[in-house]
Amino acid sequence: MTPALESYAEHAAAMRVFADEHIVPFAHRIDQEQQIPREVVERMREAGLFASGFPERLGGTPGSKADPVSATVRHGMIHEALGRASPSVQGLLNVHHMGGSAILRWGTQAQKGEWGQRLSSGEVIAAFAITEPEVGSDASAIQTTAVPVGDGWEVSGTKTWITCGQSADIFVMLTQSERGPLAVILPRDTPGLRIEPILGILGCRGYMLATLYMERCAVPPERVLGQPGFGLSHVVAEGLDNGRHNLAWGCVGLGQACLDASLHHAAQREQFGGPIGEFGQIQRLLARMMTDVHAARLVCWSAAVARGRRDPSAVQESFMAKYLASTMTNRVAADAVQVHGASGVGPGSPVETAFRDARIMELIEGTTQIVERAIARFGLQGR
């Protein structure tokens, strides 16, 4: 029997308390300073958040092997709580899990041994590097090359828009080799790797984005992930699949934050002699937001259950969850600004930040158009 979503209420509440205490107080500063303070990352480490989603035998959250369905739902709820508190912080945990899961799923036993505990504890933070100046949605066309040298490889090229590029310790990077797509682990201190911050973006300003320039970076055999030719279809695909699921839950959290703020404002703000929440048109906005957030959460929960069961449909469900939740959060954030009036666009307004952050959600982990295409293709399978 699959436990109902309600049975996770205690875990959801605990995550919310954690986020309210340790992340919400920093959210405005993260947006303004475009950085996640060290103490936030430290609290996340202490709370064991970096372990979530990784195999238990490699340092992942205790109990996840015995009950993978519940563990996956709880994992989603961590991302929801972070998305509600600060989508930038959710982004950090997300790319860590994307890069880490690619290593711990497709790494050799030696690689799993080398990285498992360090990734799970958050001692080492991972990021995920596919996008290039000339290549976004069509990952198969990347131009960063891996050339065989001795028993290893040499990587040259440019990756851009890399979340946590400014701060991550290692990058799981997709390259092109003579034997097809090749995924590698590139530590931050690799000679020939130069990192340039990207500042001043619209939303998720604490993503700590960077452009990575690789000039003949040496990659020894023990830093190659999987076999040549499988870098995109398996190694990177594993990370992207996790990323879509994580982001979907993060979007639910962001939508919930907008909804909470809107309900509060609608009850407090008075015009024409009464609270604006008593006006039918405002109620319509609130009703739509409440229903939208609830629906997206249920789709995320369904995807998490499928993932926990290792059902092949989980890939499709995660696409649908990402699609629904990212488009939902844009509608909800826009409605939240409307409910707030001028106070929803003023400096320092959480709703103003949420509106900007929400915009990013339809671009990353597959743009809305790419996600629509994938979902439709799943639907057409077997027809």
Binding site: G107, G226, G229, L232, H234, D311, Q381, G382
Partner: protein, 80 residues
């Protein structure tokens, strides 16, 4: 035993390939079906269906390029 495995994999592939007929020895990459969405679904399917774990060392084109190849891979993993 391999016949059961083969039937099951054949069924999964034909569902995935929009109903197109694929012979057991056809190279699915050459036919253009080896995209990443299909690849991770296939791994999830065979791991769950046959209670095996596909590992890094198994990622060889020869193991995934046809229904025959996947059947043989699953057979080997189950014996191991």
């Amino acid at each position: 035993m391999n016949d059961c495995i083969r039937t099951s994999i054949r069924g999964f592939m034909s569902r995935s390939f929009e109903g197109r007929e694929v012979a057991d020895h056809d190279n699915i990459f050459a036919l253009g079906f080896g995209n990443s969405l299909f690849a991770i679904q296939l791994v999830a399917y065979i791991e769950r269906e046959f209670d095996i774990e596909i590992e890094s060392e198994d990622l060889e084109m020869e193991n995934f390029q046809s229904i025959d190849a996947v059947t043989a891979l699953v057979g080997r993993k189950r014996e191991a």
